[in-house]
Protein backbone atom coordinates (compact mmCIF):
# COMPACT_ATOMS: atom_id res chain seq x y z
CA UNK A 1 0.00 0.00 0.00
CA UNK A 2 1.34 3.32 -1.01
CA UNK A 3 0.48 5.43 1.99
CA UNK A 4 1.60 3.16 4.73
CA UNK A 5 3.97 4.79 7.18
CA UNK A 6 7.58 3.78 6.66
CA UNK A 7 9.32 2.61 9.80
CA UNK A 8 13.00 1.87 10.12
CA UNK A 9 14.89 0.43 13.06
CA UNK A 10 18.60 0.42 13.75
CA UNK A 11 20.95 -0.88 16.40
CA UNK A 12 24.04 1.08 17.39
CA UNK A 13 25.94 0.72 20.66
CA UNK A 14 23.46 -1.63 22.30
CA UNK A 15 23.02 -5.33 22.91
CA UNK A 16 20.07 -5.97 20.52
CA UNK A 17 17.84 -6.63 23.54
CA UNK A 18 15.71 -3.66 22.59
CA UNK A 19 15.14 -5.17 19.16
CA UNK A 20 14.09 -8.42 20.80
CA UNK A 21 11.50 -6.41 22.69
CA UNK A 22 10.15 -5.31 19.28
CA UNK A 23 10.11 -8.92 18.17
CA UNK A 24 8.00 -9.56 21.27
CA UNK A 25 5.12 -7.33 20.13
CA UNK A 26 2.88 -10.36 19.61
CA UNK A 27 -0.59 -9.43 18.36
CA UNK A 28 0.12 -5.71 18.45
CA UNK A 29 2.38 -6.33 15.48
CA UNK A 30 -0.70 -7.01 13.38
CA UNK A 31 -2.18 -3.64 14.33
CA UNK A 32 1.08 -1.91 13.61
CA UNK A 33 1.54 -3.60 10.25
CA UNK A 34 -1.88 -2.41 9.20
CA UNK A 35 -0.66 1.14 9.44
CA UNK A 36 3.03 0.81 8.69
CA UNK A 37 5.73 -1.21 7.02
CA UNK A 38 9.20 -1.96 8.30
CA UNK A 39 11.30 -0.66 5.42
CA UNK A 40 14.70 -0.88 7.01
CA UNK A 41 15.60 -3.06 9.95
CA UNK A 42 18.75 -5.13 10.37
CA UNK A 43 16.91 -7.57 12.61
CA UNK A 44 14.12 -8.19 10.08
CA UNK A 45 15.49 -7.63 6.61
CA UNK A 46 18.66 -7.55 4.59
CA UNK A 47 19.90 -4.00 4.94
CA UNK A 48 22.59 -2.10 3.09
CA UNK A 49 23.96 1.05 4.57
CA UNK A 50 24.14 2.69 1.16
CA UNK A 51 20.51 1.87 0.44
CA UNK A 52 18.75 3.44 3.39
CA UNK A 53 15.31 4.57 2.21
CA UNK A 54 13.55 7.77 3.27
CA UNK A 55 11.74 6.95 6.51
CA UNK A 56 8.85 8.45 8.39
CA UNK A 57 9.89 7.03 11.72
CA UNK A 58 13.26 5.63 12.73
CA UNK A 59 13.60 3.71 15.97
CA UNK A 60 17.22 3.69 17.11
CA UNK A 61 18.63 1.37 19.76
CA UNK A 62 21.96 1.98 21.45
CA UNK A 63 24.21 4.92 22.06
CA UNK A 64 27.33 6.10 20.27
CA UNK A 65 30.33 3.93 21.09
CA UNK A 66 32.33 4.14 17.87
CA UNK A 67 32.66 6.18 14.70
CA UNK A 68 30.42 3.83 12.76
CA UNK A 69 27.60 4.37 15.27
CA UNK A 70 27.96 8.11 14.82
CA UNK A 71 28.00 7.97 11.03
CA UNK A 72 24.88 5.82 10.94
CA UNK A 73 23.07 7.97 13.49
CA UNK A 74 23.75 11.06 11.40
CA UNK A 75 22.71 9.34 8.19
CA UNK A 76 19.48 8.02 9.71
CA UNK A 77 18.71 11.45 11.10
CA UNK A 78 18.93 12.85 7.58
CA UNK A 79 16.72 10.12 6.14
CA UNK A 80 14.03 10.20 8.82
CA UNK A 81 11.22 12.52 9.70
CA UNK A 82 11.01 11.43 13.28
CA UNK A 83 13.74 9.78 15.30
CA UNK A 84 13.01 7.81 18.45
CA UNK A 85 15.82 7.15 20.92
CA UNK A 86 14.78 3.70 21.89
CA UNK A 87 15.90 1.99 25.05
CA UNK A 88 18.13 3.18 27.84
CA UNK A 89 21.37 2.79 25.86
CA UNK A 90 20.07 5.23 23.27
CA UNK A 91 18.52 7.62 25.77
CA UNK A 92 21.20 7.67 28.51
CA UNK A 93 24.08 5.54 27.23
CA UNK A 94 23.04 2.51 29.24
CA UNK A 95 25.22 -0.25 30.62
CA UNK A 96 27.92 0.08 27.92
CA UNK A 97 28.37 3.57 29.36
CA UNK A 98 30.18 2.09 32.35
CA UNK A 99 33.04 1.74 29.89
CA UNK A 100 33.47 5.48 30.43
CA UNK A 101 35.36 4.59 33.61
CA UNK A 102 38.20 3.42 31.37
CA UNK A 103 40.25 4.82 28.53
CA UNK A 104 39.96 3.39 25.05
CA UNK A 105 43.40 1.85 25.48
CA UNK A 106 42.36 0.09 28.66
CA UNK A 107 39.20 -1.23 27.01
CA UNK A 108 40.86 -2.57 23.87
CA UNK A 109 43.72 -4.10 25.84
CA UNK A 110 41.22 -5.83 28.10
CA UNK A 111 39.11 -7.08 25.20
CA UNK A 112 41.84 -8.18 22.82
CA UNK A 113 44.80 -9.04 25.01
CA UNK A 114 43.88 -9.70 28.64
CA UNK A 115 40.66 -11.54 27.97
CA UNK A 116 41.32 -15.23 28.68
CA UNK A 117 39.02 -16.38 25.92
CA UNK A 118 40.91 -14.45 23.25
CA UNK A 119 44.06 -16.18 22.02
CA UNK A 120 46.26 -13.33 20.86
CA UNK A 121 49.88 -14.30 21.42
CA UNK A 122 51.18 -11.45 19.36
CA UNK A 123 49.17 -8.95 21.36
CA UNK A 124 47.67 -7.34 18.28
CA UNK A 125 44.90 -4.82 18.57
CA UNK A 126 42.87 -4.70 15.37
CA UNK A 127 42.85 -1.24 13.91
CA UNK A 128 42.04 -1.71 10.25
CA UNK A 129 38.56 -2.17 8.86
CA UNK A 130 37.04 -2.05 12.31
CA UNK A 131 35.17 0.98 13.66
CA UNK A 132 37.24 3.04 16.05
CA UNK A 133 36.01 3.57 19.57
CA UNK A 134 35.29 7.18 20.45
CA UNK A 135 36.82 8.50 23.66
CA UNK A 136 33.63 7.64 25.54
CA UNK A 137 30.09 6.36 25.11
CA UNK A 138 27.58 9.08 24.38
CA UNK A 139 23.83 8.90 24.38
CA UNK A 140 22.01 9.35 21.07
CA UNK A 141 20.69 12.83 21.96
CA UNK A 142 24.30 13.89 22.54
CA UNK A 143 25.04 13.08 18.90
CA UNK A 144 21.88 13.92 16.93
CA UNK A 145 18.50 15.59 17.50
CA UNK A 146 15.92 13.10 18.66
CA UNK A 147 12.19 13.72 18.65
CA UNK A 148 11.12 11.25 21.27
CA UNK A 149 12.63 9.04 23.93
CA UNK A 150 11.40 5.64 25.06
CA UNK A 151 13.71 4.44 27.84
CA UNK A 152 13.93 0.98 29.38
CA UNK A 153 16.46 -1.82 29.33
CA UNK A 154 14.76 -3.01 27.29
CA UNK A 155 11.50 -1.07 27.24
CA UNK A 156 8.52 -3.30 27.90
CA UNK A 157 7.07 -4.59 24.64
CA UNK A 158 3.56 -3.45 25.54
CA UNK A 159 4.86 0.06 26.31
CA UNK A 160 6.65 0.28 22.95
CA UNK A 161 3.75 -1.17 20.99
CA UNK A 162 1.36 1.29 22.58
CA UNK A 163 3.71 4.20 21.95
CA UNK A 164 4.29 3.24 18.33
CA UNK A 165 0.56 2.73 17.72
CA UNK A 166 -0.29 6.08 19.28
CA UNK A 167 2.30 7.74 17.07
CA UNK A 168 1.11 5.99 13.92
CA UNK A 169 -2.40 7.20 14.64
CA UNK A 170 -1.10 10.75 14.89
CA UNK A 171 -1.30 11.03 18.67
CA UNK A 172 1.34 12.40 20.99
CA UNK A 173 3.23 10.50 23.62
CA UNK A 174 4.01 11.71 27.07
CA UNK A 175 6.23 9.93 29.50
CA UNK A 176 5.03 9.74 33.10
CA UNK A 177 6.41 12.43 35.40
CA UNK A 178 6.05 10.32 38.54
CA UNK A 179 8.73 8.16 40.09
CA UNK A 180 8.56 4.44 40.65
CA UNK A 181 7.54 4.72 44.30
CA UNK A 182 4.26 6.27 43.20
CA UNK A 183 3.25 3.08 41.45
CA UNK A 184 5.07 0.59 43.68
CA UNK A 185 2.68 -1.46 45.78
CA UNK A 186 5.10 -1.71 48.70
CA UNK A 187 4.14 0.18 51.81
CA UNK A 188 6.22 3.28 52.51
CA UNK A 189 7.05 3.75 56.17
CA UNK A 190 5.72 6.99 57.71
CA UNK A 191 9.29 8.25 58.33
CA UNK A 192 9.85 8.30 54.59
CA UNK A 193 12.76 6.50 53.03
CA UNK A 194 14.85 6.18 56.15
CA UNK A 195 17.38 3.35 56.15
CA UNK A 196 19.04 2.17 59.33
CA UNK A 197 21.66 0.15 57.52
CA UNK A 198 22.61 -0.71 53.96
CA UNK A 199 22.55 -4.37 53.00
CA UNK A 200 23.01 -6.38 49.88
CA UNK A 201 20.25 -8.64 48.75
CA UNK A 202 22.19 -11.79 49.63
CA UNK A 203 22.49 -10.56 53.23
CA UNK A 204 18.80 -9.85 53.51
CA UNK A 205 17.58 -13.03 51.85
CA UNK A 206 13.95 -12.74 50.89
CA UNK A 207 12.72 -9.32 51.92
CA UNK A 208 9.47 -8.85 53.82
CA UNK A 209 6.52 -8.99 51.51
CA UNK A 210 4.78 -5.66 51.68
CA UNK A 211 7.31 -3.19 53.06
CA UNK A 212 9.37 -0.76 50.98
CA UNK A 213 12.77 -2.27 50.20
CA UNK A 214 14.69 0.83 51.27
CA UNK A 215 13.20 0.50 54.73
CA UNK A 216 14.67 -3.03 54.73
CA UNK A 217 18.16 -1.78 53.98
CA UNK A 218 18.22 -2.44 50.25
CA UNK A 219 19.33 0.27 47.85
CA UNK A 220 16.27 0.60 45.61
CA UNK A 221 16.55 3.32 42.97
CA UNK A 222 12.78 3.73 42.77
CA UNK A 223 12.78 7.30 44.14
CA UNK A 224 14.95 8.53 41.24
CA UNK A 225 13.48 6.32 38.50
CA UNK A 226 10.61 7.07 36.13
CA UNK A 227 7.46 5.01 36.69
CA UNK A 228 7.24 3.59 33.17
CA UNK A 229 7.78 -0.09 34.01
CA UNK A 230 5.13 -0.28 36.70
CA UNK A 231 7.65 -1.23 39.42
CA UNK A 232 8.40 -4.64 37.98
CA UNK A 233 11.38 -5.42 40.18
CA UNK A 234 10.15 -4.29 43.61
CA UNK A 235 6.98 -6.21 42.70
CA UNK A 236 9.03 -9.40 42.81
CA UNK A 237 11.19 -8.41 45.79
CA UNK A 238 14.18 -7.13 43.84
CA UNK A 239 15.40 -3.55 44.30
CA UNK A 240 15.09 -1.30 41.28
CA UNK A 241 18.42 -0.66 39.57
CA UNK A 242 17.10 2.30 37.65
CA UNK A 243 17.01 0.72 34.21
CA UNK A 244 14.37 3.13 32.85
CA UNK A 245 16.39 6.14 33.89
CA UNK A 246 15.20 9.17 35.84
CA UNK A 247 12.10 11.32 35.64
CA UNK A 248 12.42 14.38 33.40
CA UNK A 249 13.00 16.76 36.32
CA UNK A 250 16.20 15.02 37.40
CA UNK A 251 19.44 16.08 35.73
CA UNK A 252 21.73 13.47 37.24
CA UNK A 253 19.98 10.31 38.41
CA UNK A 254 22.83 8.88 40.45
CA UNK A 255 23.53 12.09 42.33
CA UNK A 256 19.85 12.53 43.11
CA UNK A 257 19.60 9.08 44.57
CA UNK A 258 22.78 9.47 46.62
CA UNK A 259 21.29 12.64 48.02
CA UNK A 260 18.07 10.90 48.99
CA UNK A 261 19.80 8.01 50.72
CA UNK A 262 22.26 10.17 52.63
CA UNK A 263 19.61 12.65 53.80
CA UNK A 264 17.30 10.04 55.22
CA UNK A 265 19.87 7.60 56.53
CA UNK A 266 19.01 7.05 60.21
CA UNK A 267 17.22 10.34 60.09
CA UNK A 268 15.70 9.63 63.51
CA UNK A 269 19.21 9.91 65.03
CA UNK A 270 20.08 12.76 62.71
CA UNK A 271 22.40 14.49 65.14
CA UNK A 272 24.12 11.55 66.72
CA UNK A 273 24.76 9.17 63.85
CA UNK A 274 28.36 9.03 62.64
CA UNK A 275 28.30 10.99 59.35
CA UNK A 276 30.77 8.52 57.87
CA UNK A 277 28.54 5.52 58.59
CA UNK A 278 26.41 5.51 55.46
CA UNK A 279 29.34 6.34 53.18
CA UNK A 280 31.23 3.41 54.69
CA UNK A 281 28.44 1.01 53.80
CA UNK A 282 28.24 1.90 50.13
CA UNK A 283 30.87 0.88 47.67
CA UNK A 284 31.13 0.91 43.90
CA UNK A 285 29.08 4.09 43.84
CA UNK A 286 29.18 4.48 40.06
CA UNK A 287 28.22 0.83 39.56
CA UNK A 288 25.38 1.17 42.05
CA UNK A 289 23.93 4.53 41.15
CA UNK A 290 24.95 5.03 37.52
CA UNK A 291 24.75 1.54 36.02
CA UNK A 292 22.45 2.81 33.29
CA UNK A 293 23.05 6.54 33.06
CA UNK A 294 26.74 7.39 33.35
CA UNK A 295 27.12 8.90 29.83
CA UNK A 296 24.22 11.26 30.56
CA UNK A 297 25.50 12.21 34.02
CA UNK A 298 26.99 15.60 34.86
CA UNK A 299 30.41 13.95 35.03
CA UNK A 300 29.97 11.39 32.26
CA UNK A 301 33.40 9.80 32.35
CA UNK A 302 36.34 9.19 34.58
CA UNK A 303 38.69 12.13 34.57
CA UNK A 304 42.15 11.22 33.40
CA UNK A 305 45.00 12.71 35.35
CA UNK A 306 46.14 15.99 34.01
CA UNK A 307 47.03 19.24 35.68
CA UNK A 308 50.52 19.11 37.04
Amino acid sequence: MADKIKIGTMWLGGCSGCHLAIADFHESLIDILELADFEFSPVLCDTKYDEIPELDVCIIEGGIRNDENRELAELLREKSNLVIAFGTCAVYGGIPGLGNLHTVDELTTEAYINSVSTPNDEGLIPNEEVPHLENRVRSLPQAIDVDLIIPGCPPRSDVIAEAVLTLLKGGTIELPTTNLCEVCPREKPPEGLAMDFVKRQMEVGKPEDDLCLIAQGLVCLGPATVSLCGAECPGIAIPCRGCYGPTAKIVDAGAKMISAIASDYRVGDDKTVDPEEVAGQLDDLVGTFYSYTLPAALVPMKMQKGGK
Partner: protein, 139 residues
Protein backbone atom coordinates in the same frame (compact mmCIF):
# COMPACT_ATOMS: atom_id res chain seq x y z
CA UNK B 1 46.77 32.71 33.29
CA UNK B 2 47.08 28.99 33.77
CA UNK B 3 47.71 29.59 37.46
CA UNK B 4 44.36 31.23 38.00
CA UNK B 5 42.49 28.32 39.51
CA UNK B 6 38.76 28.73 40.01
CA UNK B 7 37.01 27.57 43.14
CA UNK B 8 33.26 27.50 43.58
CA UNK B 9 32.16 27.98 47.17
CA UNK B 10 28.63 27.27 48.38
CA UNK B 11 27.76 29.17 51.56
CA UNK B 12 24.61 28.90 53.60
CA UNK B 13 22.75 32.14 54.03
CA UNK B 14 22.64 32.23 57.82
CA UNK B 15 26.20 31.46 58.86
CA UNK B 16 28.87 30.97 56.23
CA UNK B 17 27.69 33.74 53.94
CA UNK B 18 27.71 35.95 57.03
CA UNK B 19 31.27 34.75 57.61
CA UNK B 20 32.16 35.99 54.12
CA UNK B 21 30.58 39.35 54.96
CA UNK B 22 32.50 39.58 58.19
CA UNK B 23 35.75 38.86 56.35
CA UNK B 24 34.79 41.55 53.85
CA UNK B 25 33.82 44.28 56.31
CA UNK B 26 36.99 43.60 58.30
CA UNK B 27 38.95 43.97 55.03
CA UNK B 28 40.66 40.64 55.46
CA UNK B 29 42.79 39.67 52.50
CA UNK B 30 42.22 36.42 50.70
CA UNK B 31 42.90 35.28 47.14
CA UNK B 32 40.30 36.24 44.53
CA UNK B 33 39.99 32.72 43.13
CA UNK B 34 36.62 31.93 44.66
CA UNK B 35 33.11 32.46 43.38
CA UNK B 36 30.63 32.33 46.24
CA UNK B 37 27.15 30.94 45.66
CA UNK B 38 24.67 31.57 48.43
CA UNK B 39 22.14 28.89 49.28
CA UNK B 40 19.60 29.10 52.08
CA UNK B 41 21.05 26.16 54.00
CA UNK B 42 23.95 23.78 53.45
CA UNK B 43 21.29 21.08 53.57
CA UNK B 44 20.15 22.40 50.18
CA UNK B 45 23.39 21.30 48.57
CA UNK B 46 22.60 18.48 46.24
CA UNK B 47 25.47 16.33 44.92
CA UNK B 48 24.34 17.59 41.50
CA UNK B 49 25.56 21.08 42.45
CA UNK B 50 29.03 19.83 43.21
CA UNK B 51 29.24 17.70 40.07
CA UNK B 52 27.91 20.53 37.93
CA UNK B 53 30.57 22.88 39.30
CA UNK B 54 33.31 20.41 38.36
CA UNK B 55 31.75 19.81 34.97
CA UNK B 56 31.62 23.52 34.22
CA UNK B 57 35.30 23.83 34.95
CA UNK B 58 35.71 24.46 38.67
CA UNK B 59 39.14 23.35 39.87
CA UNK B 60 37.88 22.99 43.41
CA UNK B 61 34.63 23.17 45.36
CA UNK B 62 34.03 24.26 48.95
CA UNK B 63 30.78 23.73 50.81
CA UNK B 64 30.30 25.70 54.01
CA UNK B 65 27.45 25.67 56.51
CA UNK B 66 26.64 26.54 60.11
CA UNK B 67 28.36 24.74 62.95
CA UNK B 68 26.56 21.67 64.25
CA UNK B 69 23.67 22.80 66.39
CA UNK B 70 23.48 26.22 64.73
CA UNK B 71 21.67 25.36 61.50
CA UNK B 72 18.79 27.76 61.02
CA UNK B 73 16.66 24.84 59.92
CA UNK B 74 17.83 22.62 62.75
CA UNK B 75 19.61 19.76 61.00
CA UNK B 76 20.35 20.62 57.37
CA UNK B 77 24.07 20.52 58.01
CA UNK B 78 23.90 17.04 59.55
CA UNK B 79 22.29 15.76 56.37
CA UNK B 80 24.83 17.61 54.25
CA UNK B 81 27.64 16.10 56.30
CA UNK B 82 26.44 12.55 55.52
CA UNK B 83 25.98 13.44 51.88
CA UNK B 84 29.45 14.96 51.54
CA UNK B 85 31.14 11.79 52.80
CA UNK B 86 29.60 9.90 49.90
CA UNK B 87 30.39 12.66 47.38
CA UNK B 88 34.11 12.53 48.25
CA UNK B 89 34.08 8.82 47.43
CA UNK B 90 32.04 9.38 44.28
CA UNK B 91 34.30 12.01 42.78
CA UNK B 92 37.28 9.83 43.53
CA UNK B 93 35.67 6.98 41.57
CA UNK B 94 35.22 9.50 38.78
CA UNK B 95 38.92 10.28 38.81
CA UNK B 96 38.59 13.69 40.47
CA UNK B 97 41.03 13.99 43.39
CA UNK B 98 39.11 14.18 46.66
CA UNK B 99 41.33 17.09 47.70
CA UNK B 100 39.47 19.20 45.16
CA UNK B 101 36.45 19.09 47.43
CA UNK B 102 36.22 20.40 50.98
CA UNK B 103 33.47 21.10 53.45
CA UNK B 104 33.56 22.87 56.78
CA UNK B 105 31.47 24.86 59.23
CA UNK B 106 31.92 28.63 59.33
CA UNK B 107 29.78 30.89 61.53
CA UNK B 108 28.80 34.46 60.71
CA UNK B 109 31.38 35.79 63.17
CA UNK B 110 34.23 33.68 61.83
CA UNK B 111 35.54 36.02 59.14
CA UNK B 112 39.04 34.82 59.89
CA UNK B 113 38.08 31.19 59.44
CA UNK B 114 36.40 32.07 56.15
CA UNK B 115 39.53 33.79 54.85
CA UNK B 116 41.77 30.97 56.10
CA UNK B 117 39.59 28.32 54.48
CA UNK B 118 39.81 30.12 51.14
CA UNK B 119 43.58 30.57 51.46
CA UNK B 120 44.08 26.93 52.41
CA UNK B 121 41.94 25.68 49.53
CA UNK B 122 43.49 27.97 46.91
CA UNK B 123 46.96 26.79 47.96
CA UNK B 124 45.88 23.16 47.82
CA UNK B 125 44.29 23.53 44.38
CA UNK B 126 47.25 25.44 42.97
CA UNK B 127 49.34 22.55 44.10
CA UNK B 128 47.09 20.04 42.33
CA UNK B 129 46.91 22.18 39.21
CA UNK B 130 43.84 23.03 37.16
CA UNK B 131 41.23 20.33 36.66
CA UNK B 132 41.38 18.85 33.16
CA UNK B 133 37.82 17.55 33.44
CA UNK B 134 35.98 20.18 31.41
CA UNK B 135 38.45 19.95 28.57
CA UNK B 136 38.22 16.15 28.59
CA UNK B 137 34.44 16.21 28.54
CA UNK B 138 34.36 18.68 25.66
CA UNK B 139 37.05 16.88 23.67
Amino acid sequence: MAEEVKIVMFCCNWCSYGGADTAGTARMQYPPNIRVIRVMCSGRIDPQFVLKAFREGADGVIVAGCHMGDCHYDAGNYKLDRRMRIIYNLIEELGIERERLYHDWISASEGEKFANTVRMMVAKIKDLGPSPLKEQIEA
